[in-house]
Subunit: 344 residues, 3 copies
């Protein structure tokens, strides 16, 4: 049987979770949900050696909600990644639906939670990077110790190459225990080429024995009205209605965190996210002015093996003024969960 061309892989991460406020009335909820650490996924990938160091690669990755079996994105089978490309000494070029370079930078290097999966622990890196995009041409290359990424996603609007398009770029440099990275990303509204969502990032990490420290800053200027959809938790006014196109929202967003490998089995992670937003809009509520929000997250993982972990996690989000539109019911929400993650 010729199973040699494709590898199946995935993660099932499911948790039992309490939320202190989960509807407009501020009532608590108890749910069994897709996990805290990773979005559940199943994928098919392969590499073909073409000789002379050249390789053909592909990856088809589905995202699903492990608690219900439903797809993360309606009708999009490979909602996470769907690409084909070539890899060689020149770097790697891939074509299709892909993660933005800025998201890769966070997930692979600098976000203390490698970007979590709950609205409450992932809103900042999700909203700053927009996670992924279709119709993307992406390049990665390394030059000495410097890793560079660049991407272009076509907007596919006849008559305008700008509408709906996206460009992005990142640089990362590692020197011993110290790593520094940063990036830029600009996404043009699909309806007005003057409306743009622009994000800048600078991030650092430092490894200190069994501990690793992380920190970073995003500057987001968004007149496409996209940010509220990512920053808002499920059922928040921000998430349901989105922002108002043509009004420029500005976010200064900071994060700080640490991981600590306490024993071979136990690892601990703490992360803090702080956002200062200006000119916050929600389509149904108008211009809400300025706001602030912070989130604190703690995770304790126990590794039953390299592929299977059980964990407990606590998260606390608190919003003020305009940022209240990003939460539901109360000005703060506490989440507590236990879960299991299995990697295959």
């Amino acid at each position: 049987m010729a199973q040699t061309n494709v590898t199946i892989y995935g993660i099932v991460d499911t948790s039992i979770r309490y939320l202190s406020s989960d509807n407009a009335a501020g009532q608590k909820n108890f749910v069994i949900t897709n996990g805290a650490i990773s979005n559940s996924r199943i994928g098919f990938k392969g590499t073909e050696d073409l000789g002379g160091g050249l390789k053909a690669i592909f990856r088809l990755e589905n995202g699903f909600n492990s608690d219900t079996g439903s797809m993360s994105s309606a009708n999009t089978l490979f909602s996470r990644q769907s690409y084909v490309g070539l890899s060689g000494s020149f770097g790697t070029v891939t074509l299709g639906r892909q993660q933005t370079p800025l998201f890769d930078l966070m997930a692979d290097h600098f976000d203390p939670l490698t970007v979590g999966n709950y609205d409450q622990n992932a809103w900042m890196p999700a909203g700053a990077t927009l996670i992924r995009n279709s119709n993307m041409l992406k390049y990665y290359g390394t030059f000495g110790g410097l890793a560079a990424g660049i991407s272009y996603a076509a907007g596919e609007k006849a008559g305008s190459v700008k509408l709906g398009s996206q460009i992005g770029g990142t640089l990362a440099y590692t020197a011993g225990p110290f790593a520094i990275g940063g990036g830029f990303q600009q996404t043009v509204s699909p309806t007005n080429s003057d409306w743009k969502d622009t994000a800048y990032n600078l991030s650092l990490s430092y490894t200190l024995g069994a501990a690793k420290l992380f920190g970073g800053y995003y500057r987001i200027k968004d007149s496409t009205g996209t940010t509220p959809a990512y920053f808002g938790v499920t059922n928040s006014a921000a998430s349901i209605n989105g922002g108002i196109g043509g009004v420029e929202r500005k976010d200064d967003a900071y994060f700080l965190g640490a991981t600590y490998q306490a024993t071979p089995a136990w690892s601990l992670t703490a992360a803090g996210y702080y956002d200062k937003s200006k000119n916050v809009t929600v389509a149904t509520l108008g211009n809400l002015g300025d706001g602030t929000r912070y989130a604190l997250v703690g995770v304790a993982e126990y590794a039953l093996s390299k592929r299977t972990q059980v964990y407990g996690t606590v998260d606390y989000n608190k919003a003020k003024n305009a940022a209240l539109s990003e939460l539901v019911g109360k000005d703060s929400v506490t989440g507590v969960a236990v879960g299991i993650r299995h990697i295959f």
Copy 2:
């Protein structure tokens, strides 16, 4: 290639089928359809040995209609099962979308057809067990000869842990050729916590040489209005409109059957289902009073191998009074089919 962590498995069961009445006018139909014996499926599963008898397990199982390629449940990729869990000497704990313990009891032990796949041969065990649920925590354990299952599915309604929740439990005991089992299941309406669908079951089986006899009884009390959706065949008033919430329907449902391994290749199955319903409602028709319905099913299978069978099957459903809402066109429907089932 690292294919060692996941096994792909499935069933394709497709049949050519005649129905004596298949629309409101009572006209006959000729269809090529998803099979008589099993709902077609494809799944991905795995087991990881964690040492000390502990194992991590997962299963992601898609249901599809083999005649059209469409998913059984819109947008739900793993509509049949989507779980991760741990298994050890303490039993097995799993989390996610799963079959209810009462359904497992029928499919694995006591339904003569191991729960069929046509509306006409599966309505009773489907309607009594509700088949499966999302957001479920399930436990299985064995204590001497006794196998016990227990489940809790979260309703996930903020402000109420009752709304939409489900609890279930089963016991099964085998002594030589004799097996006895039973279970309980209660599902709370997602809109009114006083409305409940409660089912009790007691079942028996007895192995007699190449033959096996089955019998059982369900008591269903349902004020959620769910039963008609499962009991009604496709396009019946019951199936399309469902029942009326807040009115308690009661069903006393009995089944009896036998399988006979006539030769190593030939196996024969006969099953009968009889239901007496009280206070039957259909949303568009009101309270229809009481009804009765029975179904007779015969299956002859010829095994081309362990993994491939061809079969012929006949089914006859007859309804009276309120139960007429569960059929279409006439007070009885006869189905005849030939099909092929392949297990991979």
Copy 3:
């Protein structure tokens, strides 16, 4: 691990494409899209040896858009193929969703592009064969040098075995470098059994050293209003609105082409399609009378390996009179693309 019963296979074909007219205003577009040569797919298939030359076979094949990860057909997981069957000395019988025999004839033997994937290079064989159908019983057999295919797809309308049904048949004969084939296909409207889409085909091919020549003719008489949906490019009036049922459109459609294996790595293909249509209707526009359209396509492929190709392609479509409804914006459209196709 028991991976022995199923083989995973597929194609990811993605291209960067320019279109000279891609909206009603005739504006150009630049897109990253599902490839020129093959529709992207992933499938699961298997064969079980049942002894005595008999085999059980199955195939479950998903079609997806590699540029976005979305499924080709909403909610239909195995939109390309979903069948189970038996194969032996008598031939092959399969049951489920399948390609029509007429499509197989084009894709496997006579279309110079093995049926392309863009609207602009595939409209004629797609519209003449309707590509595939659900609920199909199909038979293939070989008799000496003659290969015969026959199919029946059930319409599944209670009270009428005609409504929505389809029959098809093909014959192909190969003698040395020369091959001849032809077929017939009739699809009945699901709403009126007097409305039919009937297609006839006669095709030839001739191998001449490293070159192969192709040619063929379709006669299509369609009163179901289906043809415009297949012939029209995306966003054309024909594609969006379809034709008018009950009015018989006639198409005389010709194709001619050649492939040339210039070097072991380089292969070149040229194809031309010419259609003369009478009584063309579009639901929103009425009867448009007669039209003509032709398409010219050139492809240059460079094989990095047997499984990976990079390619460039140019296509030009030109319509007159009623056939203008099949294009958008202008009376002609030029497409230019480069892409990569990886087979796994």
